[in-house]
Amino acid sequence: MVVYILDMVILVIGIYCLIAKRHLIKKIIGMVLMEYSVNLFLILIGYRHNGIAPILMPDENRVHFAQYGVDPLPQALVLTSIVIGLGTLALMAAYAMRLYEKYRTFDMSEIRRLKG
């Protein structure tokens, strides 16, 4: 349980960075930290004490493998989630560069044309 909570602390640091920091790059870094922590959370959930990697070798004992292999499903989910994170990062980077070119600043508090 301590492991889960420590992992959530990283998530919260990421969210804090996204909300409170005004620098665009800092916001991207916050997003990246958030992605890391969620991916790690899923893998932590799938871990088994004394586990072995879920990859079968030709001379491996099948019963032992089924008994001690760690959970493969969260690993599959995390692979998808890493890709989604990379996609979001690319889109965010494109937005950040474009905003810089339009406003000539990375400061989110000066990028404020919308009101109401």
Partner: protein
Amino acid sequence: MKQKDIEQIIHDDHTGMSLIVKTVARMMIAVIILFAFYIILYGHLTPGGGFAGGVILAIAYTLMMLAFSRKMALHKFSDFWASFWDNIGMLAFIILGFLGLNSGYFLYNFIWHGKPFHLVSAGIIPLANIAIGVKVGACLYAIFIGLSIYGRLIIKEEE
């Protein structure tokens, strides 16, 4: 944006990094690409797979662009072809899904599964890995071109 400006930017940047970097990169790139193909092709037997291999491919081309120059990298593999292969990879994966429909289900593993622990086994899994590898490698290279060239171009135009 104007074609002329892009060409100007590419033309301005033709020297790349120093000789040492270039020599090391020249040796490394082939090895990296080989490793990427290994990761993609053996994805169903060992750790790795289409996505990891695709990113390695993209990194190899990115290294080429950083070490030599944009001009040379684009000469080897232009952004048009990057985006073309991106689409082809995606199309191949979707069509693989539609072919499964023929045997009853969308994305059905319709090919004979083969002998375990051999390269030709596991039905559509290696094929899907190749499709994803091509797609991911091409599209990440394309986005790197986009972020590094078009970005500069916009500044130039606005000023």
